[in-house]
């Protein structure tokens, strides 16, 4: 009798998490397995039916120069964006933490970019930086910094830094808000004690602030790396991977293979490689995070 009651209680508890498990299982884990399956087939976007082709898709993409240049672009894009986002986000959080008056107002204005949908992110910057009627190119000419309006999206030297700038603009607020809330958990008396001992602000920062917030910041870095690496919208909507494939990242390469060339099987192979690479990178991150946590943060 007791056993039955315990079983019943267990079932009731399980019912709470069942819907969430179904969503995660059916909408996340099952599609990954199914993508893995399709990556070994000749699945076509429109034609029905497909053959099992073993590793043909993988051999084909690994031999494709475009794949490797997209891979390299992805790494550059992720590293540069992340570096910029962390630098701007971190310094903004430190500045916000320092001021007294107007903190709420600054914070509210500074998070505006975070709320931007990718399509608006793309449209607004395309309009501001438009080579003919855009505000900024014309402004630069007007104040005499440039002779002719700079072409931010078609000049092959400018396009990549421009995209990184836009991505930093968009992503820095998230870093800022999270670092700020982590900063506020650092006990104030430690700073006072350090100051009494004659520690410089830099010393306090390195020995008190950083050890306190590094786990949160580390986790944030993991999440941002994943997000930027997987991000499709921003570049697709601004340059579409152009000019001449210069800004084509892995997700865009996968999209063009699957929906441009209609080779869904091969596109799956690209995305599986993408996932494997991310898993490897994140394992390294987690090793580091575990070490920090054991050291006590």
């Amino acid at each position: 009798m007791k056993k039955i009651n315990r079983f019943k209680a267990g079932m009731a508890s399980f019912c709470f998490i069942l819907p969430a498990l179904l969503v995660v299982g059916l909408l996340l884990f099952y599609p990954v397995v199914s993508s893995l399956f399709y990556s070994f087939t000749s699945k076509h976007l429109i034609k029905s039916g497909c053959e099992f082709v073993w590793f043909e898709n993988y051999v084909r993409i690994l031999r494709d120069e475009e794949f490797w240049s997209a891979f390299l672009t992805s790494i550059k894009w992720t590293a540069a964006s992340l570096l910029g986002q962390v630098m701007v986000g971190f310094t903004a959080a430190l500045a916000l933490n320092r001021i007294r008056r107007g903190r709420g107002l600054y914070r509210t204005v500074l998070i505006i970019p975070w709320a931007f949908p990718s399509i608006i992110l793309a449209l607004s910057w395309k309009w501001i930086l438009n080579g003919v009627f855009g505000f900024l190119p014309n402004f630069l000419v007007k104040i005499g910094l440039c002779d002719t309006a700079p072409q931010f999206f078609s000049n092959s030297n400018l396009v990549f830094p421009t995209l990184v700038f836009i991505n930093v603009w968009f992503g820095a607020p998230l870093i800022m808000v999270n670092v700020l809330s982590a900063l506020q958990t650092v006990p104030q008396d430690q700073y006072e004690a350090a100051q009494l001992d004659g520690a410089s602000p830099w010393q306090s920062f390195v020995h008190i602030t950083l050890p306190h917030i590094r786990v949160v910041v580390g986790l944030l870095m993991v999440l941002r790396t994943i997000w930027v690496f997987n991000n499709f919208d921003t570049i697709y909507l601004i340059t579409g991977g152009g000019p001449a494939g210069l800004t084509q990242t892995m997700p865009i390469y996968a999209y063009n293979t699957g929906w441009g060339l209609k080779q869904l099987g091969r596109s799956s192979a690209v995305t599986v490689v993408l996932l494997i690479f991310l898993l490897l990178v994140c394992m390294l991150y987690f090793k580091l995070l575990d070490k920090w946590e054991q050291e006590g943060a």
Binding site: A95, I111, I226, S268
Partner: protein, 281 residues
């Protein structure tokens, strides 16, 4: 002596901080401001003087064109329906799930961050392939229901992450007291726990709504007939048209971005708290 030095340093640091934050704020606010200003300028104003700030002749023509001639109203309805339904389902599923994990499966709860990060790692473009195949087979292409199902894939893990942080703040004693009074698990959850976390729940719901409203890739792949498109994809197709009027585009952009920004400002503090609390194991 040391105190005076510290005071001076504090004054200098604060001034630098104010200057830096002001520069950043201008950069953060400018695109939104420019969208709004461009959307109310008259025809030819922007091509005449691209750096002029304020409109010479204020007009709402661009907005009437967007709603009247381009049928953007229908796209807005699509987006609202999809985002609202996604939010309702995702919050219900996630609230049950997050509470269940926190209260009944705490051992699993320790691992939940890692599980959620693993699902976060799955590239949306990877998921897009099976989604388009399955939805094609099920006849759910160009169907709002299909899109809502797909949107649960990113909204549920996010909402669980945030909600776990909020549920952890509910003291066990309150629930036990209700339990002694003979209330069942679901009753305790609905009548005791939910009211306590209501502010957090509302914030998560709004955040889910914004994310669904903003989504682009899945909508691009699943909704390709113009009547069924969500606002993001409709804007993209508007941009692809041969005669593009930036004033009209910016009016449409304003209609899409303003709800996002306003809602987001309302809930930013709660979301930041939830993100931090959810990441603590």
């Amino acid at each position: 002596m040391a105190n005076k030095k510290a005071l001076r340093r504090g004054w200098f640091g604060r001034t630098v901080s104010y200057v830096y934050l002001t520069v950043l704020s201008v950069a953060a606010a400018f695109p939104l401001l420019w969208i709004l200003l461009s959307s109310v300028k008259g025809k030819g104003e922007m091509t005449g003087d691209p750096t002029a700030f304020l409109p010479k002749a204020f007009t709402l023509d661009n907005y009437t064109t967007v709603i009247g001639q381009l049928g953007f109203g229908g796209n807005i309805v699509n987006s609202v329906v999809v985002a609202f339904s996604t939010t309702l389902i995702a919050v219900a599923v996630s609230a049950l799930g997050a509470y269940g994990v926190v209260r009944f499966f705490p051992r699993f709860g320790k691992k939940i961050t890692r599980v959620l990060i693993t699902t976060y790692m799955f590239p949306p473009i990877l998921l897009a392939v099976p989604y388009s195949i399955v939805m094609g087979k099920a006849g759910l292409m160009n169907n709002r229901g299909g899109l809502i199902i797909v949107y649960l894939s990113f909204s549920v893990p996010y909402a669980i992450w945030l909600l776990v942080g909020f549920f952890q703040t509910v003291p066990l004693e309150i629930e036990e007291a209700a339990r002694v009074d003979g209330a069942g698990k679901l009753q305790v959850f609905a009548q005791v726990v939910l009211p306590i976390v209501a502010p957090g729940l509302v914030a998560v719901a709004i955040y889910t709504f914004i994310n669904a409203w903003n989504e682009f890739l899945y909508s691009l792949i699943l909704m390709n007939s113009s009547g069924k498109m969500t606002v993001a994809v409709a804007l993209k197709s508007l941009e692809g048209q041969e005669v593009m009027d930036w004033g009209v585009m910016m009016a449409a952009a304003a209609l899409v971005v303003i709800p996002s920004v306003l809602f987001f400002m309302l809930i930013q503090k709660k979301i930041a708290y939830g993100l931090a609390a959810g990441s603590v194991k």
